[in-house]
Symmetry: C2
DNA sequence: CAACATGGTCAGATTATCTGTCCAATATGG
DNA sequence: CCATATTGGACAGATAATCTGACCATGTTG
């Protein structure tokens, strides 16, 4: 009997990571097959946070919780690849608004479709009812998580 | 009204990522405060897959789903920092077994504790019953995910 | 024993992040 | 209405975490 750690049950982290990773792999794999092979998972932060009428770089960075330099790096790659375009902000001479191009919108649509596909496939195995319950619980958890994170932050940084 | 994408509901990905990210941040933040400030999230793959009586690098890499070079990079950092030690494998002259040092075991223990703490805090907010149901559903999902991933693989690569 | 397979290292590249510094444009408070 | 502070973004450089390709030494096997 190989000695093993008393990790009685899987951590919550593993339980969340496993399906997340699988979904990520499936979605970005399928996306590449559809011809969007220059979009990597890290780019999803951009798609996730961009408004349909364009968004400033700084705002994207804030929403994604990263530095503007890091966001600039991602936006740059996606612009180079033709998914984004930026134009000067009419209300602020310093700023540029980043927006999706036609192709960017196609990618975004594909991304949402593929994600939904994968979820449907899971639901097919798990059962629609259970998937709905899981979704509901995760939604609730999302609400709770912020509160918990804030409470923890109060403990040291505020 | 800002035009916005018809992302009617959050993707399953977001629902999984949100709490996962929060947990990760909380756990590795707290770990640093406890003095394990040279352990980063990427190192968790090592702790996750190492056996208490030691494990070969190649096996670690396989389990983690990464190249042996990448795993070597992580193992190296953790060895440098005193969490791991490696010794020649008595059964195979080519191989070395990587094992946790005392300090490595302490880190591992802290990691598990902090993870459990965070989960408990979430459960406090969400309710123990709901957390248990969520856990059960995620366990079930984990089982289903592998099957689904395999089925998808059948579609193109086999 | 010759050929093949395997464990690990070395070298080098790429991706995704960070800090620090700076400039130009805007906002604000006398 | 100007002096100062703030903000949006770019430039430079560092680091972390991955990858591929080539290689060597040891094991395994026909």
């Amino acid at each position: 009997m190989a000695k093993t750690f008393p990790d009685r049950q899987r951590t919550l982290g593993s339980l969340l990571r496993l399906p997340y990773q699988a979904l990520q792999d499936a979605v970005y794999g399928a996306l590449a097959e559809r011809g969007f092979d220059d979009i990597r998972a890290a780019h999803s932060t951009v798609f996730r946070h961009i408004d349909a009428d364009g968004t400033r770089l700084t705002v994207l960075a804030e929403r994604a919780g990263m530095t503007k330099q890091s966001m600039a790096y991602l936006v740059d790659a996606l612009s180079q690849a033709g998914y984004l375009a930026s134009a000067p902000d009419p209300h602020d001479g310093r700023a540029r608004r980043v927006r999706l191009t036609r192709r960017g919108e196609q990618a975004m649509t594909a991304l949402l479709e593929l994600s939904a596909d994968f979820e449907r496939r899971l639901a097919g195995q798990l059962g629609a009812t259970k998937m709905a319950r899981l979704r509901a619980l995760l939604e609730e958890l999302a609400g709770v998580v912020d509160a918990t994170a804030d409470a923890a932050a109060d403990g040291f940084s505020r």
